[in-house]
């Protein structure tokens, strides 16, 4: 495929509507079942779930609004940068656009991810345990799993809000800046960003809820995501080339999101992985041995999230609430 200026273009995947459709379908089925069960009060306990869910949304409404507004930033940046670029340079290449967006999304996800985990998931259950809220709820006709899942649903709702806001901002920013010729490209990028965000936030929700259910102190529950997200990739990056191993990156979630971003948006990687590639090219050795395809990463993240949700639920069912 040749682009407008005659360069060979990487073969970008078109937006994976099937994957998108499956994810949206699953979410819609959940919402539909939930709505029917809630409205008809088929199972009384599900109403308790909704009571917790609605309360958590109300409690977090300021935080949710702030995070949703922050999620618009990538779109605003893209709009401003590319408006400036087209004014100064008269135009830009879609490859540059993809790489740039990939960088922004990686950077955004890294900090938003940590902030989201700290603000919502990894401290939520611990705080409820520490300040006696959970104990108080348990004295009412509310079961432990209902409390946990009421909260998880509110976190998932927040994740959807963030993902939609981020994708919409990029879509609108892109449509305002780019030539209408690229509308399909922009739709594809916005769609993939939605998928990456939703997968990232689902995984971070699962990790945060797990840490929050297992630990009693907020310090560890906050430190672990920061370690996995920021410190671990940095440590791996600073290891001498000859002893460097990529396997610790399997525990670093920024790696997965970068890889998805690379596979779906830029194909060159956004941050860390592109540095590795630069290293390997420079030294003429192939040090980047973790070649996980996008579908592998999606599967890993979904299986990990489901497993962590199940473990958290089972753990909270059996553990003492001080």
């Amino acid at each position: 495929m040749i682009n407008l200026i005659g360069m060979e273009m990487p073969n970008y995947p078109t937006f994976e509507w099937i994957l998108f459709g499956i994810i949206m379908g699953i979410i819609s089925i959940f919402v539909f079942i939930f709505y029917i069960v809630y409205k008809r009060r088929i199972i009384e306990i599900n109403s308790s779930l909704m009571v917790i869910f609605k309360r958590k949304l109300k409690e977090d409404k300021i935080k949710i609004t702030i995070f949703t507004l922050i999620s618009i930033i990538p779109g605003v940046i893209i709009f401003l940068i590319f408006t400036l670029m087209s004014t100064l340079m008269g135009g830009f290449d879609i490859i540059q656009v993809r790489i740039f967006i990939s960088y922004i999304i990686n950077f955004f996800l890294l900090y938003l991810g940590i902030a989201y985990t700290i603000a919502f998931t990894s401290t939520g259950i611990i705080n409820a345990k520490r300040n006696g809220t959970l104990s108080w709820f348990l004295s009412k006709p509310i079961r432990r799993w209902e409390f946990l899942w009421g909260r998880i649903l509110s976190y998932l709702f927040t994740s959807i809000m963030i993902s939609v806001a981020c994708s919409l901002s990029i879509l609108i920013g892109g449509l305002l800046t780019f030539d209408p010729l690229y509308i399909e490209e922009i739709l594809s990028i916005a769609g993939f960003i939605f998928l990456i965000n939703i997968l990232a936030l689902l995984t971070l929700t699962a990790i945060g809820v797990f840490l929050s259910s297992v630990f009693r102190k907020t310090g560890l529950a906050i430190f672990i995501p920061i370690f996995m997200f920021m410190i671990l990739p940095t440590i791996v990056g600073f290891l001498p080339i000859v002893v460097r191993s990529e396997w610790p990156l399997l525990f670093s979630f920024s790696y997965y999101f970068e890889e998805l971003s690379s596979a779906w948006i830029s194909q060159f990687g956004g941050g860390l992985s592109s540095i590795y590639l630069a290293y390997s090219e420079l030294l003429g050795i192939d040090i980047f041995t973790l070649n996980l395809s996008a579908i592998h990463i999606v599967l890993i993240l979904i299986i990990l999230s489901i497993s962590l949700f199940i473990i958290s639920t089972l753990y909270l069912q059996k553990t003492d609430i001080p």
Binding site: V51, S135, L138, S139, K140, P141, I321, P322
Partner: protein, 317 residues
């Protein structure tokens, strides 16, 4: 009249981290009325309450509430009939008092119309009508405890479990709380209240008490039963005469005095009366007052600890 126990625990034991024994084979029986669950700080009262409400799992033992297994499938049914007020309530500070009650009502799925009238009645009961639209964060400690009582009563529970609710209150707040609880008792509710402030239990006219120390039950029963069990009486004698004090000190477990009375603690009041009678006859002392009564809760509490020290070697902290 015999009535079915509301709460019964059987050898309830809680061991934290395989080493700290917080509750040790605790078997208590709570009948309708007010039950004072007494003990010093760290005795295991809150741990016991957390096991009753299902927040902590017992290491061993059984709990029955309303005759049902409180650790089994019936837990949700039991909780529909319970109201709980924690020691340090951290209710949703962003809510107003009225919103909190509405929220708790929705937890119990109380129909809207019924809920509105119940909220109005409860706010009147706890004297918070004027503060109903104020954020809970701005409530005083006493108001927080009172809204705590209101939220615990929203489902019209048969059993109220109160954990040290008066410890943060000023004397006026305590007095209001005592009157409130006495009123609730008269409405037929069973109140299980843990505290280390004994005069309040006395003022509440508790039907029975359980005294706990280091996780073990030391004494349990009504004040009358415990007095009979201990056999100790408090005798007030007036005038306080040095001769009486001198002679009686050999027959008293404890001897004290007020401005015009001698206070004798004795397990044999008849003998004390005989001695007082003899001395008064021989020395022409006119006895104005000789009243023998049972121990008050505070005295029972101290006595229980004395006995425990002697009999089972439990040291009071």
């Amino acid at each position: 009249m015999m009535s079915d126990p509301i709460i019964q625990t059987f050898n309830l034991t809680k061991l934290f981290d395989q080493k700290t024994l917080a509750v040790n084979k605790l078997s208590i029986t709570v009948k309708p009325g007010i039950y004072g669950f007494l003990g010093p700080n760290g005795a295991g009262k809150t741990t016991t309450i957390k096991m009753l409400i299902g927040s902590l799992f017992p290491t061993e033992g059984r709990i029955e509430i309303f005759g049902k297994d409180a650790l089994g499938k019936d837990i949700a049914d039991i909780h529909k009939r319970i109201g709980y007020v924690p020691e340090n309530p951290t209710y949703f500070m962003d809510m107003t008092g009225e919103e909190l009650l509405e929220y708790v009502g929705s937890v119990f799925k109380i129909p809207q119309q019924k809920l509105i009238s119940r909220i109005s009645n409860l706010l009147r009961l706890v004297d918070l009508q004027d503060a109903k639209s104020r954020k809970i964060a701005k409530y005083s400690a006493g108001m927080k405890q009172r809204i705590g009582i209101a939220q615990a009563l929203i489902n019209d529970p048969d059993l109220l479990i109160l954990d040290e609710i008066t410890s943060n209150l000023d004397p006026l707040g305590r007095s209001k709380m005592v009157n409130l609880l006495k009123g609730l008792k008269n409405e037929g509710k069973t109140i299980f209240i843990s505290t280390h402030i004994l005069p309040e239990i006395e003022k509440m006219e508790a039907d029975s008490i359980g005294i706990i120390n280091q996780g073990q039950l030391i004494l349990e029963g009504s004040i009358k039963e415990l007095n009979e069990k201990l056999g100790t009486k408090i005798i007030k004698i007036s005038p306080k005469h040095d001769l009486l004090r001198e002679k009686l000190k050999h027959y008293a477990l404890n001897i004290g005095e007020t401005a015009d009375e001698l206070i004798i603690e004795s397990d044999n009041p008849d003998q004390v009366w005989k001695i007082v009678n003899r001395i008064s006859m021989e020395n022409d002392i006119i006895i104005n007052k000789f009243i023998s009564s049972g121990l008050e809760i505070e005295q029972l509490f101290m006595k229980a600890f004395d006995i425990t020290k002697k009999d089972i070697g439990v040291e009071n902290k």
